[in-house]
Symmetry: C2
Subunit: 345 residues, 2 copies
């Protein structure tokens, strides 16, 4: 049964999937022969289609409708049939022009990337910001906010700024804070956050009977600052775009998806998983056990900073998606963002 597909079946499967991507409607045998003249009669195509259905690549919504691809069908299409179309010059330019602005903060670059992805693909753009822990320490500042509340500002090598409020009983003058700042900046500069954590722990252990109150406090503070794992920040841009797709006339489905957007954690997980890989990756809806994004696909690519892959960006849309267009868009954007980040740091 599950033998290889011969050339003809593959051609027909490809035709059906591409027609379906275009039209969002079940594709009949007739339509296949008409739009892609391949010297076959509808009847023959029907036979092949029946086989493809048997093998699980296609699915008929009801007896007398055409066929639509199953996820297995899409998967096969993506892995074996798809030929991506390289971007034209104007397309590349259209993407590029958004990155020429000077003096951009990283956050702005990432958000802009999301917007561009969404506006060019007509789906929803996703960008997972670099993990706090994967960045390199550059500078720390303490600002006394009020009695017992101190604002910690932390700048990474690449210019990401994080801040956090910590509380303390101790009364510290601004000048004392400055001393602490100097000490920490000297000690920690150039380390990754993971290394920073380790270093702090080590210092704290080593100097158990800490003679210097300020030093002790400084270590405590930074321990508190770097202790918690930040849940990755994710930019979701153009969420409404996706609603233009006919699959989202189903309101319930739409709500599920938007709940997932609002919660973010699911997307973070998916994007995080995709970060390890090289090149463009494609998740198909329920391959990922999350019912919220049923019927959707993610096309993602990691972008690089100083320390290899630091974040992920991509597009989410219906599984019925022109992958041959979206893939190069995502790919190119990832390269572009990588370039911008690398130049910056």
């Amino acid at each position: 049964m599950s033998q290889e597909l011969n050339e003809r079946s593959r051609k027909i499967l490809e035709a059906i999937i591409e027609d379906y991507i275009d039209s969002a409607e079940p594709v009949g045998s007739r339509a296949v022969t008409r739009r892609h003249q391949m010297g076959l009669s509808p009847a023959t195509v029907r036979n092949v289609m029946a086989d493809l259905e048997e093998m699980g690549y296609l699915l008929a919504p009801h007896t007398s409708a055409g066929r639509i691809p199953t996820e297995k069908g899409y998967r096969f299409y993506i892995d074996s049939l798809l030929r991506v179309r390289p971007l034209t010059l104007t397309e590349r330019q259209r993407i590029e022009q958004h990155y020429h602005l000077k003096g951009r903060r990283i956050e702005d670059v990432l958000q802009e990337a999301g917007k561009v992805l969404s506006s060019i693909s007509h789906y929803t753009g996703l960008v997972l910001a670099p993990r706090f822990t994967s960045t390199v320490f550059r500078q720390i500042e303490f600002v006394r906010l009020s009695e017992g509340r101190i604002l910690v500002i932390f700048v990474s090598e690449s210019g990401l700024v994080q801040n956090k409020v910590i509380e303390t009983d101790e009364r510290l003058a601004q000048s004392e804070l400055e001393q602490m700042t100097n000490y920490l900046n000297l000690t920690l500069s150039g380390l990754t956050i993971s290394e920073v954590k380790a270093k702090i722990l080590e210092e704290m252990r080593q100097e158990k009977a800490l003679y210097d109150r300020l030093l002790k406090k400084a270590l405590e503070f930074s321990s508190e600052t770097f202790g918690e794992e930040e849940g990755g920040q994710v930019y979701i841009e153009g969420a409404v775009n996706i609603l233009e797709q006919p699959e989202f006339t189903d309101i319930e489905r739409m709500k599920r998806l938007f709940r997932a957007f609002e919660q973010k954690s699911l997307l973070v997980e998916l994007l995080d998983a995709a970060q390890k890989a090289r090149g463009v990756q494609i998740f198909i809806g329920s391959e990922s056990e999350y019912s919220e994004i049923e019927g959707c696909s993610l096309v993602t690519a990691a972008y690089t900073g100083r320390g290899g892959n630091v974040g992920t960006l991509g597009v989410i849309g219906p599984t019925r998606m022109p992958y041959n267009l979206v893939i190069p868009i995502v790919d190119y954007t990832a390269r572009l963002v990588s370039k911008v980040l690398e130049v910056d740091s």
Copy 2:
């Protein structure tokens, strides 16, 4: 024609509006007499309803349906009929419990406020963050990112952190940056941003033939930093909540609203306008000429910081909204946020 409404008409109008808020369906004369026994027959109520329709408070979607309130009806209801129900103790506690966490950044407090607003009201929570310009300067820091790119970090009195990248041809050592920092922190501390701007301009003019290169550079930088008006940051929480409302089964309408959410500028405008007022304000949909939020209402209240009203928060939902519940929620949240911010600073 447009004479005063007598007691009876007002009672009936109130009953209709409240029933409609409950049911989201046109209210008939029968229903009014049944649910609020007021010693009148349906026929009499019908007569009154006809009058109310004539006067523009009600509207019949079609010949043989009940009546629904017009915007004029809602407006009258809100201004003259509504009695808000004070929050119960448990409700207050339910709101409060989200603000007990220590060591919160302002951004977190505001976002949390939005979430609470949305989850308690079942609509969408909105919070307009304090305007950059309305905050008080506390501290500035420069961090050299790379050749010619400098990260400026600015902390307001209340602990808001903003950052920005500026570019320069000049090569500046970190030590020089520190000098600049000291100078600016000394000069500008305690001023509002508007005052900071003025001050910088003045200094620049006064010391036209600036002897000190660094000082000049410092002023230039801060001028660049504070020059641009930041578009107010707005938190939109629980946008999906609003979709549970029956008025948003209309997909087109929903899309319009979500586009407005995505764009934010419209909301910023509305919230900004509401910031001047004291107490709870209510905008009714098309009173505001923006078709995107047609059929929606905003219930807002300004919250205060050090300098009077610094931001606005509220709820957006369908005009058919239980104002008597939502108003105290918004009111109480605004007070709470104000308290948190004032304590902090």
